[in-house]
Symmetry: D2
Subunit: 333 residues, 4 copies
Amino acid sequence: MTEPDLTFQFGGRYPIADVLPGQVLRTSTEDCFGGAVRTVEDLPSQVCRRFNPVTGPFRVPGAEPGDTLALHFIDITPSRPWGMSALFPHFGALTGTHATAMLHEPLPELVWRYDIDVAAGTVRFQARRGEQSRVLPLDPMLGTVGVAPADEEVRSSIVPDAWGGNLDTPRLRPGATLYLGVNVPGAMFSFGDGHARQGQGEVCGVAVECAMDVAVAVDVIKGVATPWPRLETDDELASVGAARPLEDAFRISQLDLVTWTAELTGLDVLDAYQLVSQAGQAAPGNVCDPNYTMTAAIRTEYLAAAGGDRVSGYHGVHQRLRELGRRMAWPSR
Amino acid sequence: MTEPDLTFQFGGRYPIADVLPGQVLRTSTEDCFGGAVRTVEDLPSQVCRRFNPVTGPFRVPGAEPGDTLALHFIDITPSRPWGMSALFPHFGALTGTHATAMLHEPLPELVWRYDIDVAAGTVRFQARRGEQSRVLPLDPMLGTVGVAPADEEVRSSIVPDAWGGNLDTPRLRPGATLYLGVNVPGAMFSFGDGHARQGQGEVCGVAVECAMDVAVAVDVIKGVATPWPRLETDDELASVGAARPLEDAFRISQLDLVTWTAELTGLDVLDAYQLVSQAGQAAPGNVCDPNYTMTAAIRTEYLAAAGGDRVSGYHGVHQRLRELGRRMAWPSR
Amino acid sequence: MTEPDLTFQFGGRYPIADVLPGQVLRTSTEDCFGGAVRTVEDLPSQVCRRFNPVTGPFRVPGAEPGDTLALHFIDITPSRPWGMSALFPHFGALTGTHATAMLHEPLPELVWRYDIDVAAGTVRFQARRGEQSRVLPLDPMLGTVGVAPADEEVRSSIVPDAWGGNLDTPRLRPGATLYLGVNVPGAMFSFGDGHARQGQGEVCGVAVECAMDVAVAVDVIKGVATPWPRLETDDELASVGAARPLEDAFRISQLDLVTWTAELTGLDVLDAYQLVSQAGQAAPGNVCDPNYTMTAAIRTEYLAAAGGDRVSGYHGVHQRLRELGRRMAWPSR
Amino acid sequence: MTEPDLTFQFGGRYPIADVLPGQVLRTSTEDCFGGAVRTVEDLPSQVCRRFNPVTGPFRVPGAEPGDTLALHFIDITPSRPWGMSALFPHFGALTGTHATAMLHEPLPELVWRYDIDVAAGTVRFQARRGEQSRVLPLDPMLGTVGVAPADEEVRSSIVPDAWGGNLDTPRLRPGATLYLGVNVPGAMFSFGDGHARQGQGEVCGVAVECAMDVAVAVDVIKGVATPWPRLETDDELASVGAARPLEDAFRISQLDLVTWTAELTGLDVLDAYQLVSQAGQAAPGNVCDPNYTMTAAIRTEYLAAAGGDRVSGYHGVHQRLRELGRRMAWPSR
């Protein structure tokens, strides 16, 4: 990457711009190949030197360690009418890898090209070995959104962890608000790794990778810490855990959702544990990155007492940012 | 348990009855407490000697090792207007356990009682520490369905593995057909552990446990082996993996779904890997039992070629059993 | 196997003989291939129908659930002047397996034959691809020793768990006393799977497999339960954990050693945790079987207070059985 | 920490000094508490702001990415006659942690003080709850040695990974040569975290922490890459893997030792896999840090062909550095 607004790390970089709380940022992001993979002949191991550039970091004046950054994604739309996927050597869940080290030769390196039709809302899978194709729903999302890590660490954008990063959850789609704990003054957030769509778990390690036009509304919640990434939509609250083995990612996400539920509802934490046990959802984001991710979610309707108000994750921040997005009159496509 | 038709194992038992292929079996099942936990004062560690009785085994004449047993669940309806859940000492995902051995004292043992309203389709959570309650949708399922294991093993009904068992996936609800590889003559299937509903991952280790009235249509697919439990509904195909750590349960389920997809569609296995990576769903069943379970699923509409027929998991067995169930004129409730 | 004294399971079998507490049992055991692999041309996948026969079960009159069985291994000597090892398809730590399911083809199936010289105390590795050889010390052990499991389970002899089984630790060599909790009347112990030697972790999945002549002194410790397999030698105490992932096997073994240390020394459990943290040893047995095993050990000299007596694991049982073995005048070889 | 020569990261720092290849560096290191814990009343959570300072980084002129840095530890001697250990909240293998997230309250925070007698070669454990004490052998080592990571990452000194870091293996004692792949010009190595002794696996998470006087001989092996940390002594070669779950750390270390063995001996890689399977050792370093570590080792005598020369890990570098250390006439203590 030579573009000055791209980076391959979270932390350790000067901001490329400031975004004030209450502002909407419109920008575009490259795909995880930096745009270098355009045909099925472009093998990532040959045409890419680095992977997963993110746009940023953006500084949010006023954000301090101990605060929470809120990023509401108003729009995530493919910038190009195609997306790329690949089988990359020793990467993915069904192959030996750097960490799950084995004596096997890598699986073949293969590239797939998907046609994207934003108007029709579809992506088209075309087999590489044979003539078959399938049409799948377009469901754009960002794979990677994060802030600068704690403890002065600088981390590769391939990694998900408590600061966000390569979360790879389809829940990070337009309409969602992502909450991240702030570790350094200005928060220093970056994002990228757009996916036209992605299966849960991202089993081969690569989604339908796609450059994206993004509009994001930004806010800061002062004096409220957030231990792990959280998501809010109109319908649900979700916590994201990142760890190995996968059960630890599950544990992190569920414990965070349980304690968050207790805090929001006034339920005792063991009652919240029980409620989440019966009403909660759980899904893997990725099972291929240096940390795996799991999301724990609960519908807000199950949190509200009978006749009570909708339960809001952070006192209405999601609703206000959603309204802000609507007022921006983002042009329809 | 003194009832002669209940067992706590898969394998090693004489059949309690025969069920012919093409027949519908109507019976009832006890809850995982054997019905001994009826109020919040009934602590499972005190009132239960054993856990998770299953009804069976049933012998299916003609089923031989190498065949596949198909069990289509026509009906799973709560037998009683209440269900029980509990926090059991050193059991669940957010506590030290027998295997994840720690120096912590157990969390408090607590019991919850849920009111079940079949007509309204609801279960009602009532907090133990405080007065709050919540209403959740009724979504009945069976936690435990399996056949006799291979290699002459006899396994506790708490365990899920390749022969089925304690799968604890909400996908095992009415309308689903479960496919299990047959390991011994007669298959010797059993089932139980009804849940009025369950969150994904069953994080505290116990669902809304409930005795169930069950109607199941049975068939045998001769000469076709099934390596891991599979599910088919009108809308999707799913594979279940059972293992620790959780990523291995994920790997098993995804690999089985990938190879099954290749077989059903004629796609090359690496093309199937790619398609499942973008179109697949993944969810934990339990993250608390001796093996954890993960389900990999894909919608049948994504498997069908443009203009092609619906893809059936086993050449129409699910559809035929579903029709059989409809013709049985099961009385509405 | 057609020999009536061999079995492939723990549990669910009639005893082949009784052994009274205080008696010494002399017998021989087959190797894990049942003796069918004798040259490097004998591929296990072709010449073996089942794996890991064990000799037994032996009933110990008077042993009851809640007691502890003590097995002191007086002698474990190769029955034949050769041992066999192999690379078996989809088995071992550096290959995709049944549970760590992957898309790779299996590694090549290969067999190695080792010359064993009991008098010289050596085993000789001979490369298959080239002419090189190496001489290693003979260090005979039994891979598999166990009793009937709890909960009426019947388990394959490939599996290690709380009842013992396929522990695969080199510490199970002559001079060691193995303690196993009794789950059924008579304990019903079996053993086999001799290894002329084995690396820690048994990384390829197969040791230098060897039929063995075995002499074992038996005792029962009434009214004392043992939760996981324990070992005692003249120099150390050890606890074995069996689970996946490997850290859970570590946790089980360390927690058992910590609580055992506290019990034997009178140290508070947190002081024992601290002492084991600084003085303890830890080693993998196998990282290839259905459960992995880890051993936690501490030298008895670190347990004794200054000027105090040697700390004995079970009030001198090991020492008495060792003396019993010496008095048996086992002929030297 | 205010001392300018201490850091809490690997990577991202200016060097504090240059050390030329062939030079011996003599310096001292602080303990993991930065010296702030001196009595059993000093609770780390109260008196420490950060943990695990390391001395450095040192730049090695001429070291370039793709080279290997060799660090031969001539001397590691306690700087003070005492060492400290602790039970730290939510840290260690037998407690819920940040990643193995649970609902348990933390175990009590407790501190232990050990008397160190360098002349006698002992450390003395003193129980906190009761009057008991035990005397253990002094066995000094460095817990943390590493270089700047690849991919421009900056990592906390708590973490072990491919660049070294918090390896926590007792094999890193005087007489050992550590080999680390170089990722940035000058390698930029740092070290610290002395342990007067440590059990394998460091089960409570904290060793007998101790400031150390260190003498280390430095060399660079040009044009030879090293993928994971490796160790050489007069008697053995060892590879260190760092990952979660623990079996992945095992896999990494074993695969590296297998391929290194093949390279050094000329054995085919599958023959080397077989030889390591029977002759190899395996031990956990830590089972508590953000990545767990496992070491795979083999005695050099098992690598040498009959009548052949001793096999050297890097063409005699270890032997030359050892001789260099001897010639330095380090004063005896």
